[in-house]
């Protein structure tokens, strides 16, 4: 079963994933199943970086379980600004809460924090590392729309720094999925993720051009190419247009293609795609609540 903490998608087995997704589906179908199950319990939201969707969906999930949330506020107004270590911060907050959600700009921060606390800790993004709870809601959305076995997925955009991509790619190795990675050369998957995919025997191909693979795809997962990653604005502009989706680009795709995006988007998916049945990114964001309800319920021992 799922371990005490959720730090990396690499630690998730197929059974772990299916347990969360099945429970999320049950919660989605009947929210009364878990309503007030965690009344009186407190979830600490420790966000060392700005977040809207992840933070609010965890907050919504805990409140729908009957629990409360506490929030350390902005980093500028916290003791972190005074130079307190992350290890000390989480040790203090552990005394205030029954579980903890952490977002932090440094890779490995969630693992470090988990070594200093006994309450369940969820990694809600550690730098360019991992974002495993996002992966669970991504997998839930994929399962609802395309199934999780015998599918072909294209993952496109900033694969080097995109933590949602790293977690998703690793989690998908638990299933019969053909993975195609589409990015500029400079934003290819990092070595460690490619290593894991190779070790897992995953079916993987890398491309710079979406056209090479688009007609084969059941799912296209788009991420934002981050302007700030490029040393020169000119280099960004050269590649950004190549990775923009609109209805014309998608004309060669399967009618059943599922288009996903962890959001926020900037201009990588044209608004006209929103109106098509392919667009699932808002559904994907909404799935964050039942999936995080299920995850918190399991980590807090409510599902035993």
């Amino acid at each position: 079963m799922l371990q005490d903490h959720l730090i990396s998608a690499a630690h998730l087995s197929r059974d772990d994933i299916e347990a969360v997704l099945d429970h999320a589906a049950a919660v989605d179908a009947d929210p009364d199943l878990v309503r007030d199950r965690h009344a009186g319990r407190v979830l600490a939201l420790c966000f060392f970086e700005p977040s809207t969707r992840t933070k609010m969906s965890f907050e919504s999930a805990m409140k729908r379980l009957g629990g409360e949330t506490i929030d350390m506020g902005s980093v500028e107004s916290s003791s972190v600004k005074k130079g307190e270590s992350l290890a000390d911060t989480v040790r203090v907050i552990e005394g205030y809460a029954d579980a903890m959600v952490l977002r932090h700009p440094s890779e490995g921060s969630a693992k470090l924090a988990s070594e200093f606390v006994d309450v369940p800790l969820v990694n809600a993004g550690d730098g360019a590392g991992q974002h495993p709870s996002q992966t669970l809601l991504d997998l839930y959305t994929i399962r609802e729309n395309a199934g999780l076995d015998d599918i072909t997925i294209g993952i496109m955009g900033d694969l080097k720094y995109g933590r949602t991509v790293h977690s998703l790619a690793q989690a998908l190795t638990n299933f019969d999925v053909r993975q195609h990675f589409i990015s500029p050369e400079s934003l290819r998957l990092p070595r460690n993720v490619r290593y894991d995919l190779h070790e897992a025997g995953a079916q993987v191909r890398e491309h710079t051009d979406l056209d090479e693979v688009l007609p084969e795809l059941d799912v296209l997962y788009v991420t934002r190419i981050q302007r700030e990653r490029f040393p020169e604005e000119r280099e960004y502009l050269e590649v950004a247009g190549e990775y923009r989706i609109d209805n014309e680009v998608l004309s060669d795709a399967s009618d059943d293609l599922t288009v996903m995006h962890p959001l926020p988007r900037v201009d990588e998916i044209a608004p006209e795609v929103d109106e098509t049945k392919r667009a699932k990114y808002f559904e994907q964001a909404h799935n964050g609540v039942p999936v995080r309800m299920a995850l918190l319920d399991i980590l807090l021992g409510g599902n035993e």
């Binding site: 270590s85 992350l86 890779e107 490995g108 470090l112 070594e115 730098g127 460690n192 290593y195």
Partner: protein, 161 residues
């Protein structure tokens, strides 16, 4: 005194690291945190002919035995090395290095954004792969031939005699 006599001269107390991969002797010193400032007496043989491995390096350090974490990293850059502990001119212990699963506290993660490079109360930890090591915190992989570049001599443990 001939060159040969100089190379094989005995030490009273300390460690002889033999069968070091040719060219790695200076990295062995880096692992041991020896840069001359500590006053240790050190002898190095580089590219010494060896029946067993063709050419090898040899490092002799007076007054110093190796900690386990030092041996762990040594196993990455000199997998054929033998470690001879010398007391009163006699070899009292002779061990082959063994490849370890994990290396703690001696390598620095090259990812500047890794939490182990922040001011946190944590030792670095690397999982040993077939051809390198991998940071247990941020997953960054260092290939075997690059490992020596990431040795933190300050982190090297010491066992004084």
């Amino acid at each position: 005194m001939t060159d040969k006599e100089l190379r094989v001269s005995k030490i009273r107390d300390g460690t002889v690291i033999d069968h070091v991969t040719a060219g790695q002797a200076l990295n062995v010193l880096a692992i041991l945190g020896i840069d001359g400032s500590g006053g240790e007496s050190v002898s190095i043989g580089m590219n010494v002919p060896s029946d067993k491995v063709g050419q090898k390096d040899v490092v002799k350090v007076e007054g110093r035995e190796l900690s386990q974490s030092e041996v762990d990293v040594l196993s990455l850059i000199a997998p054929e090395a033998t470690i001879n502990i010398i007391r009163d001119f006699d070899v009292i212990e002779k061990n082959r290095v063994e490849r370890t699963d994990t290396v703690r506290g001696i390598l620095v993660c090259p990812n500047r954004n890794c939490i182990t490079n922040a001011d946190e109360p944590v030792r670095t930890e690397f999982e040993v792969l077939d051809d390198g090591v991998r940071c247990a915190y941020c997953d960054t992989i260092i290939r075997e031939h690059d490992v020596a570049e990431h040795i933190d001599a300050r982190g090297a443990g010491e066992t004084a005699l």
